[in-house]
Symmetry: C2
Subunit: 339 residues, 2 copies
DNA sequence: TTGTAGGCGTTATCAC
DNA sequence: GTGATAACGCCTACAA
């Protein structure tokens, strides 16, 4: 039962506002773009007219005139889209969207089907977009880099190779892993193992490096390493391998929370207690961290912030403002009950 | 070391194509929009010119001329964005994006900050968008419905209230829950409990209803119900309550896989075996299903398909093609090792 | 400070 | 079938 007052009211145009306010279109335009040089009184009446008509500038017309799309697009590599449910990805997108909401840029998304990359390419280069964001978390895959000469572009995560020229935002995985491990060594654990992520992905590599530095500093063994693939199941298997070695283990730093959840099942399945027998520290602070018992001590990512930062960097790039090429987001260790 | 052939080549325009092909802009336009009436030979040479220049139509100009945005926007209610990592949400978006990739519509996303809904509103009504998609999975919240008079709009999930007029796509939760439970009763289980989702969300309500019908048909007790909130922890607690009742239980249908994972810890923590002592069936077929041991028998959602269907419905609506108001997607039971 | 006028790249309506 | 030409809604010198 919607109240219909004579069909859909036509979308108001700048011209209609001008008519209503009794000024020229140029003036209205100035008001809309808050140009400094416009009589305050006039500006007021124009604003009133705008409100009265509920006028919104037409994006297409504006883009056409300014030769600016006022849009940035998020490229989702098809490979990523398979793990689209990756909480990291989701949060990054959320951060991006949140930042852009307060700007004049619109966010649009394309899934770059590998079948026809040239379609994506020409869309991007066709002047329909002012900048590009690429989320390639784990893989470190920075294809598309070749476009960065033609279009501002910001990546999430350190590139696996190259990337000497690409702009990107990442969390300081190594530093975070180091602190997490220090938490273990400082509290007196002497047999600190690690379950690392894949060694062909920056996060896997860097977190392992951080662990290594910490155990070395503490004068502990550097051999207690097993590698998983960031899945819960792989974490369980890796933990079993660690425990099967016969060497004592009283703590483990795990490359992400999902694997940590797997490690929990392995540890507790053998009748060992957390943290009494084995302390566990994870990485990510995702939903697993608080849903397992005991609650997991883990490294918190500011992922949403990372997304915001990506968007901010891109906008700066677009508007020619000075910007850091690489931004490293700080992390923090969240102490819970597993250490 | 990018090969720079004299700065960024200016974006080719329709006019340039016309010049190169030696025809008028009108003709090029016709070719681009493959109008029927154009000499095949001419069309060929025009196409060649397009390829040679790597011409892409300017979206803004096109929109302006056609008075069509060629864009649909996905509204993410801020409440949803908090559970942005919801795998359901992620997959729906993926489906939407996949469908739109093959159309002339662009997908853009806005997070409707509740702080300034009128901004979102005027953006949508300002002629910048041809249609709107709203994902409100769990909540069943169909605010924005009021816009459906002015703009084509499609929702994901059955609305909690009203929705007599809204277009939406959903999975048949009740039917799926019924089949899942039938699997249990048909295989001889006589004490079939359920852990239901929140009773103020359509999926929670409908899945419970499906379970109820099945146990009733089988002549079993209808009282073995505990309610959770779709989280792993709540599933564990609910399972414990069920087990604490003292009544025998040899099977349980759980409202989603996350809660099922929780139920696993409760069951196995008490030394009971799955499926020998208690059979478990979940719902969602998300990553939990295969990462737990034994692998979980669960209901598979065609979530990506649901997203595609939403987009398809919206496009039909926009283009005035006939369309069903509500589409129910079929589900399937994936048999694994937990029954 | 304000208005006039031309142009942004396409589509659409005409004649031809 | 093809080509001028006028919109589409807005911005921006330039002139007043």
């Amino acid at each position: 039962m919607t109240q219909d007052t004579g069909g859909p009211r036509p979308v108001p145009t700048l011209e209609m506002v001008a008519a209503l306010a009794g000024v020229s279109r140029a003036t209205v335009s100035r008001v809309v773009n808050d140009s400094p040089s416009v009589d305050p009184e006039l500006a007021q009446s124009v604003k009133k007219a705008i409100l009265a008509l509920d006028y919104t500038p037409n994006r297409a017309a504006r883009s056409l005139a300014k030769r600016r799309a006022n849009a940035v697009t998020l490229i989702v590599p098809e490979s990523t889209s398979k793990v689209f449910a990756d909480p990291f990805f989701a949060s990054v997108v959320q951060g991006i969207a949140l930042f852009l909401t307060d700007t004049e840029y619109t966010l649009n998304m394309v899934i770059s089907s590998e079948s026809k990359p040239e379609k994506t390419r020409s869309f991007l280069l066709g002047g329909n977009v002012d900048g590009v964001l690429v989320v390639s978390h784990h893989s470190g895959d920075h294809s598309w880099t070749h476009l960065s000469g033609s279009l501002p572009m910001v990546f999430a995560g350190r590139p696996l190779v190259g990337g000497r020229e690409s702009y990107y935002v990442e969390v300081d995985n190594e530093q975070a892993a180091y602190s997490a491990t220090r938490q273990l060594t400082d509290s007196g654990r002497r047999h600190v193992a690690t379950i690392a992520g894949p060694q062909d992905m920056p996060p896997g590599i860097d977190r392992l490096a951080g662990w290594r530095t910490a155990v070395r500093e503490a004068g502990l063994a550097e051999g207690l390493v097993e590698v998983g693939d960031f899945t819960l199941a792989s974490g369980a298997r890796a933990m079993h391998r660690l425990l099967d070695r016969g060497t004592p283990i009283d703590a483990v730093f795990v490359g992400n929370d999902q694997m940590a959840a797997g490690a929990y099942t392995a540890i507790q399945g053998r009748g060992l207690r957390i943290p009494e027998d084995v302390a566990v520290v994870g990485f990510d602070d995702d939903s697993f961290a608080t849903s397992v018992t005991p609650a997991l001590t883990t490294v918190h990512h500011p992922i949403i912030e990372l997304g915001k930062k990506m968007a901010e960097t891109l906008v700066n790039l677009i508007e020619g403002k000075p910007t850091e090429r690489v931004t490293r987001m700080p992390t923090s260790l969240v102490l819970r009950d597993s250490v």
